[in-house]
Amino acid sequence: MKINPLTIKKIQRFKSIKRGYYSFIIFGLMICVSLFAELLVNNRALIVHYGDRYFFPTYGDMIPGRTFGLDYDYETNYRELAKHFAQDGSGNWVLMPPVPYNAYENDLREDQFPPFPPSGQDRHYLGTDAVGRDVVARLVYGFRIAIFFSLGLLLVNYTIGVSIGSAMGYFGGRFDLFFQRIIEIWSNVPFLYVIIIISSIMVPNFFMLILIMAFFGWIGITWTMRTITYKERAREYVLAAKGLGASNIRIIFKHIIPNTIAIIVTFAPFAVSGGIVALTSLDYLGFGLPPPTPSWGELLQQGWTNLDAWWISGSVIAAMIITLVTVTFIGEAVREAFDPKLHTVYE
């Protein structure tokens, strides 16, 4: 595949901005790790050696305790199994992930009440929340949900917003006027309240919540796209395409949008962090994804009600800072790398 030399230049420029580049690597790593979170943070063992067989329970069906000679039919408690094997000296063994808890199970104990503080011995590295769920597990799985939510939201918002914005700029006239008014009215609807009302009468799932938020989120990018398109459509290549008989749709999607991609890309990282914050605040208020979905907002809420359990609020605030800072650094670097002043030659 041949890459546009201009693009190569932009990438090199991006790489040369160290802060942004490293943030990008860290962020990419975080996403990759979260994709394979089941191997790192899970109550299912990675490998169980029992008798002369090997089991890999992570991604398969549930394996009942009876399979390993225990006396119950529900899912094996692998932490207990590991202890059990270690004691009976049968040569069987269990390899657990580094954090041997999943995001849903309650680790409850005799005569003690959660939240439990961080403890390396119990492998609750950041402690547990108010019902005994591991904070690391909640953070990692919560991150995965938040980031994909945010990317999904970005995709939907930009698809709608960019299309409508470009159309407004390209057609101009009454079409533009009409949509301007629509957007003005639309943006005056208090979107947080609407979401709260909607989610208090029906509990939205992941995709529903993206749709609801996109319902109001597409507006932001339209103004920018409209202005850019106004500028672009007056340029020679658009006139040339028109002269060759290209359709309006072709001109917008094949010619104008690729030439405005720099603008879109510079806005994207900020939209991602916006999406994460939006989901977190909705969860915090209790109007986001239904419990017990792991969520940063819900952790933050717990941290607030259990202020003396500093590890809850501390962990989630630290996680939020790291994520939002890296995303913002990426955004800044992208903006700089795509800065037209470095690449465009004015005639």
Binding site: P64, D73, Y74, Y104, N106, V131, G132, I201
Partner: protein, 614 residues
């Protein structure tokens, strides 16, 4: 203006004349000769003879009431309880024996028709403005409550549908007639008086005109001052007519009660710690166990009390919608009940502070069938019932039949209940049942239940004095929206028993039926009972004193200054107050005090050990 006033006065006089004439026709009625007058001066008293009068009691309210009216728009606010407590009825119910005791009436009698009660008023009874309470004030209650000017459709309807009329025989003798013969007649007919001399003829201006007027009352206290939005002060009536009645003696001891508006619960706690309010509810586990572990408690300046009462328990639990295909099979319902690890939630999340609710009707005295025990978490039994119903375990461990998984939605309305539900959910997974939690706004969730759109409803019902089976379990209320039969229970045999229960006028028969109905309900198994809190816990500064047995069976607040049935038992100890103030100044400590009062603890709870918890 003057002209207008004069005209108004003219109208009032005209109205008075009409009323008197109207009353005169009623007076002509003849009192039946075979009346068997009853009274009660033998039940035990529960106030302390040690109690002394005096002191100022401060409490906080979250918001200032929107009106002092007791009927009409905005009147059903939380302060209305204070106003109502200071309005006595004809008769009361003894909180411990449940027998009738005198209030405004000294004697009462039941008519042969089983729908009339006769009352003899206490001639000493006075309104707070000095006017005597007469039989006509009760006749006026009916007129008042049926008036459209009070804008209170509930009362309009209730006083039309339930009460037929009040017959005045003379100033101190009257009869109240119900629209139909019914059991426990005294619970319906013990109406209160309404001061005719205060309201006069009602007009459409009523709601506005009486918004901030203070209605004369018959109880121990009356509002004397208020600052809108800030505080309300009530004073004890120095020469209260009922002060020496058997069941009121040594009660209502505080001279002045001041309610201050503090708009946040946590802020109220701060007020309490500074002794700016005198008592604080600490029933919540985090208050009882954690937040009270501070110097004022450790040094004994503030005491804690854990008081067990014995009242009707709210039916809190999981309500299975039997119109859902999955819950049509009783075996599946039983299995579901056995898959709910309520004990684990109590032990691990609720710090063993809550108790297992055994069935829907706990705390109804003889009407409760305490032989019934809730189905316990038992994987073996889940297995048996599910296999009997033809289900098998799927690959993910969840039961499966004809391609459908045992996965049901549990709808609830309080964020605070999430910790309980996530534990139930995880435990249910072991039993092969998947719970999908759905948290809605509380109004939205209740709407969903009433429309019968839920799989499983997580909620509690409020209580009445007697079990009411009809609204929750009669088939007439099943399969249609906006009724309380949210389990869609529809069983012809049960219907028959409920109808018999409703129509019976014989107490023994009703009790027998009640017990049998509860057995049948257990067999149907559409309700999985969860928790109950058969106690209250309060913190109070040590200069407040309580009787030897600090409350009654039905006490909901040991420091309620008014309630005619259980209120006003505590008193102020000036010496202790001085002593405490001095001690706090000189940093002298007293031993910490935690009282546990189990006199009225429900019998079947007795095996629970409390030493383990403290």
């Amino acid at each position: 203006m003057t002209f207008f006033c004069r005209m108004m006065r003219g109208l009032t006089i005209a109205a008075f004349l009409i009323a008197t004439l109207h009353g005169a026709t009623l007076i002509a009625a003849e009192l039946p000769s075979d009346i068997d007058w009853l009274t009660n001066d033998t039940d035990p008293v529960y106030a302390s003879p040690e109690a002394v009068k005096g002191g100022t009691f401060r409490d906080a309210i979250l918001s200032f009431p929107a009106t002092f009216r007791m009927v009409g728009p905005d009147s059903n606010n939380s302060f209305a309880g204070v106003l109502r407590s200071n309005q006595l009825g004809l008769i009361g119910i003894h909180p411990n024996t449940e027998n009738i005791i005198p209030e405004l009436a000294t004697h009462w009698a039941f008519g042969q028709d089983r729908k009339t009660m006769y009352f003899k008023l206490n001639p000493a009874a006075r309104w707070s403005d000095g006017q005597p309470v007469t039989a006509r004030d009760f006749a006026y209650t009916i007129e008042f409550m049926r008036s459209e000017h009070i804008v209170a459709p509930f009362y309009n309807d209730y006083y039309t549908r339930e009460i037929d009329q009040v017959i005045v025989y003379d100033d101190h003798t009257l009869a109240v007639v119900a629209t139909k013969a019914k059991p426990d007649l005294h619970l319906t007919l013990a109406i209160g008086p309404t001061p005719r001399h205060f309201y006069g003829e009602l007009d459409e201006d009523f709601v506005r005109k009486f918004n901030w007027k203070i209605e004369p009352n018959t109880g121990p206290y009356q509002i004397t001052e208020f600052a809108k939005g800030k505080s309300i002060k009530l004073k004890r009536k120095r020469d209260w007519w009922a002060a020496d009645l058997r069941y009121f003696k040594n009660r209502f001891n505080i001279n002045t009660v001041i309610y201050t508006v503090v708009r946040d619960f946590n802020l109220q706690w701060e007020y309490f710690k500074k002794a700016r309010i005198d008592t604080f509810p600490i029933t919540f586990p985090d208050f009882w166990h954690v937040k009270t572990d501070i110097p004022i408690f450790q040094n004994g300046y503030v005491n804690k009390i854990w008081f067990f009462n014995d009242t009707q328990q709210s039916a809190m639990g999981l309500w299975l919608n039997q119109d859902r295909e999955i819950f049509k099979d009783p075996n599946v319902r039983y299995a579901f009940a056995h898959a709910m690890s309520v004990e684990k939630v109590i032990e691990k999340v609720l710090r063993n502070d809550y108790f297992r609710l055994e069935h829907h009707y706990v705390g109804y005295g003889k009407y409760s069938n305490n032989a019934i025990k809730a189905r316990r978490f038992d994987l073996q039994k889940v297995d048996e019932y599910m296999k009997k119903a033809g289900w098998i375990r799927g690959a993910d461990g969840i039961w499966i039949k004809d391609g459908r998984r045992f996965s049901v939605e549990v709808t609830y309305g309080f964020e605070g209940h999430t910790p309980r539900l996530v534990v139930l959910k995880e435990e249910a997974k072991k039993a092969g049942i998947e719970l999908r939690l759905q948290k809605l706004d509380s109004a939205a969730s209740f709407k969903k239940f009433l429309e019968k759109k839920h799989d499983v409803a997580w909620m509690g019902w409020s209580t009445g004095l007697r079990p009411s089976f009809w609204q929750h379990y009669h088939s007439i209320n099943a399969h249609k929206p906006q009724t309380n039969n949210i389990t869609n229970t529809d069983d012809p045999e049960l219907d028959k028993m409920i109808d018999a229960y409703r129509n019976s006028l014989d107490e023994n028969e009703r009790i027998q039926l009640s017990l049998k109905i509860q057995e049948k309900l257990q067999e149907i198994g559409s309700f999985v009972p969860t928790f109950m809190v058969p106690y209250i816990r309060q913190a109070f500064w040590r200069w407040w004193r309580l009787p030897h047995i600090p409350g009654t069976k039905t006490t909901e607040n040991l420091f309620d200054p008014f309630g005619s049935s259980s209120g006003g038992l505590f008193w102020y100890d000036k010496d202790l107050h001085e002593e405490t103030k001095k001690a706090m100044k000189n940093k002298v400590k007293f031993p910490a005090v935690t009282l546990i009062e189990e006199t009225y603890k429900m019998k079947f709870l007795e095996n629970t050990k409390f030493s383990d918890i403290l």
